[in-house]
């Protein structure tokens, strides 16, 4: 079976290893992995900043690129939710695009959910030695209702111990342009989150959204702490 990767702009430009890890896991499970070359972004940055027209332009491009894909797998809860939950709002006055959205959205899957619900794979044969904690990214948690899935996948990783933090469901403070419109508030939110991560004494924090991890890693580095940030795909690809 063939799956198309939508790696997201953040992974493409900043964390390409996350995309490679995702491809490796999917190939290991026997999927033929395809990467539509013309992909760019889902349009969320514009949509969340109050520019729906600009977001529509990007979203139209997304629909054009992935129109014929059987499955689209995305290493991000937030970008998945943009497509499956918010394109409807974006195209509410464009019946043709709305229909395309309705046809494509059920085939767009966040990575961990694809593994569990389509590939039916809980144990992907990964090995990672160490204690990690898991950060629930907001849009995955509250829009896609992803809570236990990534934890189930982590539980099957050899050598890995998952130690929950108190504030697993608290926002990391990224919030797209919020992080630069309100940098001090955003930074303070991240530091509170990191306090909670530190209490677990985990050596890494795992999430299914690279943008949260970019925020957390930025503050972790600024504070000089010995904590890594890892996308779930990176953990599942390691052996």
């Amino acid at each position: 079976m063939k799956v198309s990767l939508f790696v997201t702009c953040v992974v493409d430009q900043v964390f390409p290893q996350v995309g490679i890890a995702m491809a490796e896991v999917l190939e290991r499970l026997g999927y033929e992995v395809d990467f539509p070359q013309d992909q760019t972004c889902c349009g969320q940055p514009a949509f969340n900043s109050g520019y729906p027209e600009e977001a529509r332009t990007v979203a139209r491009h997304f629909l054009d690129v992935f129109r014929d894909s059987e499955y689209v797998v995305v290493p991000s809860g937030s970008c998945t939710s943009m497509i499956t939950h918010h394109y409807e709002e974006i195209f509410k006055d464009d019946s043709k695009r709305l229909e395309e959205t309705h046809r494509l959205a059920p085939r767009v899957w966040e990575f961990s959910r694809f593994l569990l619900e389509v590939a039916k794979a809980e144990d992907v044969g990964a090995r990672y030695d160490g204690v990690v904690t898991y950060h629930d990214s907001c849009h995955a948690l509250r829009e896609l209702r992803i809570k236990n899935g990534p934890r189930r996948l982590l539980a099957k990783v050899d050598g890995l111990t998952l130690r929950e933090m108190d504030a697993a469901e608290e926002c990391c403070g990224f919030g797209g342009t919020f992080s630069i419109k309100f940098p001090e508030v955003s930074g303070a939110m991240a530091r509170t989150k990191i306090d909670s991560i530190r209490k677990t004494e985990a050596s890494a924090v795992v999430s299914i959204d690279s943008s949260c991890l970019m925020q957390l890693q930025g503050v972790i580095d600024r504070l000089g702490l010995p904590i890594r940030t890892l996308h779930l795909a990176e953990v599942l690809a390691s052996r």
């Binding site: 995309g19 969340n48 027209e53 990007v58 907001c138 608290e170 919020f178 940098p183 001090e184 955003s186």
Partner: protein, 464 residues
């Protein structure tokens, strides 16, 4: 268009004592709520939320009908209903009534609606004294501060802060034990209740089919305010309506639990009209003041009018990671937190306080705990686009708009996108952090673009 008060926000963030007070107090309210609405304690919680949402939706969509029904029933009980456009009209009414009845002293129970129109200040100018009788509100009145939180107005103050306020304003010895502080306030306030000519309360619910005002509280001061003085005035926003007395069961199940984790508050008062001939308690005169103050502006928009479903439980504040950092006083109006961020620009104007809808990471914690299911993040997004549109009309925000126009153009042209991404990666080490990069770098290290994009890695992988 005014911007965010970045200086006072920084002061709040840099005050460790205040940060601890906000985080601890809101965290406690979160914990209490979580226990109170857990599957074991309230298995029907999600159904109640859906029901509450539908009742409010129905009421707001038929507001004219229910307002008339309410008015007729209040009149039938011997009370009067006064419709007021704004705070000035409320003040005019109260001043006229006070003059007619030779009133000097007003006791007040907690009411955000009265805070919203600066009730006390308006009357003070005319030498009418209005005394807050809710403990938190009384402390704030003495300290000359506005509420920090919808249900816990003095959430940001510790008992030591309260001790200082009492010493300074009441001339008492320093007292840091909360129980004793309460006794000090009680002694002062009991006299005020006995001397007061008018009692003012808010209203948590207005019941159309029975013409009743429902007030929930924990201290008994609202009951005293509404029954001891000869005149009772209830001040309420028009959106406080619910159709029937039986609907109240849904809302009382949700309000206390969402606010403080209480299954029911200590007092729930049903106030319908003045004392009848044979009754021993109650005021001689009863007035219900119904306030618009911007609310009717929301009615035309089917999406935005859900902002009027709010029952002021404060749960969205407690769960908001932004409120928990910046606290209540950095919001421009008395309504803070997520609900404040959506109703302030709507009740006032989108061109004022346009920063508010942007002061959110869109984490969605507010919507998850809202007992009436207001889609706060969705409304924030809608308001954001209205703000950028208003700025465009004013000829402002051009640079940001240009940036997003460029963003859209680049993202719709994959070859340009690839080129721009690689140029960014080449230039990143050379470019000094300015503009948005500088703002990012003020808190965090800058992520470096990868040496090779996924596009490049994938192409290399395939050619192997």
């Amino acid at each position: 268009m005014t911007g965010a008060p970045s200086e006072t926000i920084k002061q709040t963030l840099d005050d460790p004592r205040l940060q601890l007070a906000i985080y601890t107090a809101s965290g406690r309210l979160m914990d209490h709520r979580a226990t109170a609405v857990s599957a074991g304690a309230l298995p029907e919680y999600q159904d109640l939320r859906t029901q509450a949402n539908l009742i409010k939706k129905h009421t707001i969509e038929n507001l004219d009908y229910y307002l008339e029904q309410l008015e007729a029933n209040v009149l039938a009980h011997g009370g009067q209903v006064i419709f007021c456009k704004d705070g000035e009209e409320v003040a005019d009414f109260v001043l006229g009534l006070a003059k007619k009845n030779d009133a000097r002293l007003i006791v007040k129970s907690k009411s955000m609606t009265s805070e919203e129109i600066h009730f006390n200040e308006r009357l003070e100018h005319h030498h009418l004294e209005a005394v807050e009788t809710d403990l938190g509100e009384y402390i704030l009145q003495l300290a000359h501060q506005r509420p920090y939180h919808i249900v816990a107005p003095a959430l940001h103050m510790t008992r030591y802060d309260v001790a200082d306020v009492f010493t300074k304003r009441l001339g008492v010895e320093k007292e840091v034990v909360p129980e004793n502080q309460t006794k000090i306030a009680r002694a002062v306030l009991r006299e005020k209740f006995l001397q007061a000519d008018i009692g003012v309360t808010g209203a948590n619910f207005l019941i159309a089919d029975s013409g009743a005002v429902v007030v929930v509280e924990n201290e008994g001061n609202a009951r005293l305010s509404s029954s001891t003085p000869k005149i009772h005035i209830a001040v309420a926003g028009i959106e406080k309506l619910i159709p029937r007395a039986q609907d109240l069961a849904v809302f009382l199940d949700l309000l206390g639990r969402s606010a403080t984790g209480q299954p029911l508050t200590v007092y729930t008062s049903f106030l319908s009209g003045p004392r009848r001939g044979e009754e021993v308690d109650g005021p001689d005169q009863f007035y219900l003041v119904l306030l618009d103050n911007g609310r009717t502006k929301l009615l035309t928009d089917p999406e935005k009018r859900q902002s009027l479903y709010c029952i002021r439980c404060g749960a969205c504040l407690n769960h908001c990671p932004v409120y928990r950092k910046i606290g209540g006083h950095n919001y421009p109006w008395v309504y803070s937190g997520p609900i404040g961020a959506i109703i302030t620009p709507q009740f006032h104007s989108i061109t004022e306080d346009g920063w508010l809808p942007f002061a959110s990471s869109l984490c969605g914690a507010c919507a998850e705990v809202c007992p009436v299911k207001i889609e706060i993040p969705k409304l924030l997004l809608k308001l954001r686009s209205e703000v950028t549109e208003a700025k465009r009309r004013q000829g402002a925000g051009g640079l940001e708009r240009l940036a997003f126009q460029m963003f859209a153009w680049v993202m719709a042209h994959p070859k340009i996108y690839l080129l721009a991404g690689r140029m960014g990666a080449l230039l990143a080490p050379l470019v000094p952090p300015v503009g948005p990069l500088k703002k990012w770098a003020s808190q965090r290290t800058l992520p470096r673009p990868a040496k090779q994009s996924f596009h490049q890695l994938w192409a290399a992988r395939k050619s192997k």
